[in-house]
Each structure stands twice: as structure tokens, then as C-alpha cells.
Symmetry: C2
Subunit: 244 residues, 2 copies
């Protein structure tokens, strides 16, 4: 039985979650609570030593990194539903989009998300409690991110990330005004992986993502939300922001 360890249906966790639902692959969903730092706990670091979700357990073999998990599901569990184009060139275009979201788009959105939301998760901790949490984080860059979430991100960093978000939104909309999907004329991992980051920006970044400025991007976000797999996923998995 496939078992997916993740946060709620947003950001990197959403990628394999939606892929599993689109492919109708039976799986167990193990939700970790980021506010409780469960991904840095010893039991989870025994599964992924880097202390990061999502992680997939497929009969005892652990696959990490959200985009890699999605390609793995296509390789190992082929279904009627294909989420990668058959043509090599189209598949390359798909990979340029999944690579771009991992290297560029996800980071700028993530930093702003952290400055808005993760800061709240750690503001009530004492210095001692906070340091104990930080010590449990295996990746130095992640330790730095938690410290900044508590102390405040430098304003010039936040400004630069907002610039990158504007560039990203423009890139997506430019493409999606003229194309139904991102690559190969079909719904693919390129769409799933970018949707994972873009979904919700019509609310959280409404000054950038709206009907007037980004009609293509908004149409595409709504279209994916209307897919049966997305509806089932959102109905079955609670978002962390509704939880204690």
C-alpha cells in the first residue's frame, strides 16, 4: 500500500497528493502538523533524514522530493490516466516547467508565505523552546528560515521575492492566455506542480492574480480546481490552516 507523508493540500505536499488522486491510486495519507514541528521529530527523520515532507513509502522504499515522487508514480504505477506527454519534446517542455517551479517560483512564494504565516506559529514560544525546535532541524538553510520567520525577514529580501513573484505570475499568464495547459497540449505534471504553488494566490496575492491582470492564470487555476480529482482531494484532506 502506498503511504504519503505530507502537510495539507498546498505547496509541495499538494503535488504528489493531487497526482495520486488524478491516477486514482489507493493510498494512505499521513498528515503531519507543521505547527507542531512533526516533520522534525525523530520518528519522521527516521523516514526522511532531511526532515521534509512530502515523502512516499512504497512497500518500504522511501521516495522524497515532491517532483521526483510525481515522476516516480508515473514510472512505477502506470495507469490509464497519463500525466506525462508521450512525445519526448513535450515531456522535456513539461520538465522545464517542473524544474522552474522548484528552482524559482516556489521559493519566492514560500518566503512570503513564511513571513506571513510561519511567523505566527513561533511567536508564542520562549527563546528556549524555539532554540530546541531549531536544533531538531537537520538542514542549516531551514534553520535560518525558521530564525528569520521569528525575527522577521529582511525587507530587501521580501522586496526581491515580491519582484520574483510578479515575474513568475507574468510568465505563467503569458503562456496560459494562449494555451489551455502548460506543456504538450495536455494536463500534466507541469500543471500539477505549478498549480501546487499558484493555487490560493488569487486570494493571498489578489493584487497580482486577478481576472483583469492574469485572466489566463486565473482561468487555469479555476479549471484545475474544478477537476473531479482536485475536488475529491480537497474534500478528503483538511488544510492545516483549519486545524489546531
Amino acid at each position: 500500500m502506498l503511504k504519503l507523508y505530507s502537510f495539507g493540500p498546498g505547496a509541495n505536499s499538494l503535488k504528489p497528493m493531487l497526482t495520486l488522486h488524478e491516477k486514482s491510486l489507493e493510498h494512505e495519507q499521513v498528515l503531519l502538523n507543521p505547527a507542531k514541528f512533526e516533520h522534525h521529530s525523530d520518528w519522521f527523520k527516521a523516514i526522511n533524514p532531511r526532515g521534509q515532507v512530502p515523502a512516499l513509502d512504497d512497500g518500504g522504499r522511501i521516495v522524497t522530493e515532491s517532483t521526483v515522487i510525481c515522476e516516480y508514480l508515473e514510472d512505477e504505477h502506470p495507469t490509464e490516466v497519463k500525466l506525462r506527454p508521450a512525445d519526448s519534446y513535450d515531456r522535456a517542455m513539461m520538465r522545464i516547467w517542473t524544474k522552474w517551479v522548484d528552482e524559482y517560483f516556489c521559493w519566492c512564494v514560500s518566503t512570503i508565505g513564511w513571513s506571513r504565516m510561519v511567523s505566527k506559529m513561533v511567536e508564542n514560544l520562549t527563546d528556549e523552546e524555539f532554540e530546541e525546535k531549531v536544533r531538531a532541524i537537520p538542514i542549516p538553510e531551514q534553520q535560518l528560515k525558521w530564525r528569520r520567520a521569528r525575527e522577521g525577514f529582511p525587507q530587501d529580501l521580501l522586496d526581491e521575492e515580491m519582484r520574483k513573484i510578479a515575474v513568475s505570475v507574468r510568465r505563467l499568464d503569458d503562456h496560459l492566455r494562449d494555451n489551455e495547459w502548460l506543456a504538450g497540449g495536455m494536463y500534466s505534471l507541469a500543471d500539477i506542480c505549478n498549480f501546487a504553488i499558484a493555487n490560493g494566490m488569487q486570494h493571498g496575492f489578489a493584487e497580482l492574480v486577478n481576472r483583469e491582470d492574469t485572466p489566463g492564470l486565473l482561468r487555469w487555476i479555476e479549471q484545475i480546481n474544478e477537476r473531479p480529482a482536485a475536488k475529491t482531494m480537497f474534500a478528503s484532506v483538511p488544510s492545516e490552516f483549519g486545524r489546531q
Copy 2:
């Protein structure tokens, strides 16, 4: 006929170059000279609007991004020589390594390389000449990198990049002490993509990469250099550092 646009056999250019040679795929090699900013020239930006090498032209279809090109060559031009493991899990492990080199390892090495070498390429330009070069660069982050190469990178950034290089070297050596190759018990794109960045560090970063501290990493670098495809490649393609 396949046509590869690239710099000499190092860094990201080396990845598809070595892949083509390992697979014995006939191809035309078009070398661009970074010191002449050829990758920012109009004729090349008509091929890749981002002004970056490598780029592959396969019968008029252009594929960019070095790691994506390597996977494309495996998808579109299957040969007796296989550079991806057949097993899905092993292939996922390969992709974790190729993703890591693109998101972490290549950047820290690149910054130090730029501070050492690219600086020399721009120091003799007048301010006017330099600004004209910068205006031709389509990516803002690349413009910043050229400016820093000219003005000097901030020391705290260089220190942080050196820390990351030490982390990277440790990660590779830890794995390669006990394993002949990075993924799936076979020579794969994981090795090619990491070798592209690691090769030469035994000279340029000899304080980190040497027989005593990183015997596994050094053995692996030497082993890949001894492969017939690598020898043919290095013999046939000049390095930019030997050119005018």
C-alpha cells in the same frame, strides 16, 4: 542531425556533451565563447531567449536546461548504452541527485568560479562597454551576477558559498566511499550531472577534494575521466580557458 550549443566541457555544458559522447550520438558541436558574451548575442537569443547554454537543436526543436536535455536524449534517442536505471526507485534516486546538483551544488561552485574567473573577463572593459554587455542579458539575476563579478562579490556571500561547497563535497564523498556510482549501482545521469560540476575541484579546491579527505569522490572523478567517452570528449572539445 543533433546540434549542441555550449561552452567548453565544464559545468552545465558538460552534461549533455558527455551524454552525447557516452551514447555515441552523432552531433554537431557549436562552441560559444563566454568571454565574447556570445550567449547574449541576438543570433543566440533567437535560439534560446534566456541567453543560456547549453541548448540542443534536434531537427529544429530546441531543448534547453542541461539536465532536461540529458533526460530528453534518453527519451528520444534510446541506445544500447542506458544512462538511466530501469528500476523506478533507482531512477527516482538518480533524479534526487540530478535535482540536488541543479538546486544546490552547482550554485555554490559557480559563484566561487565566477569570483575567480569571470571577474577577469570583464575587468578590462570600460564602464560603457560593460553596461552595454549587461543590457544584452535577458535574465535580471544574471545581470546581477555579472555586476558582482565586476565589482566583487560580498565576502559574506563567498563565505556562505564555501560552506555549501564543503557540505556538498562531504555528501558526495560519504556516498562514493561505499558506492561505485551515485544511483542504482550503475553509471547514470546522476554521475554525469554531478561530475560536470565536481570535475576540476581536485585542482581548484584541492584543500577540500584530495586523496586524504575525499578518497571516494576523487576515485570517482578519476574513474569517469578514464572512460573512453570522457577521453574522446575532452580530446575533441577545447576548454574555453585555453582559447582567446
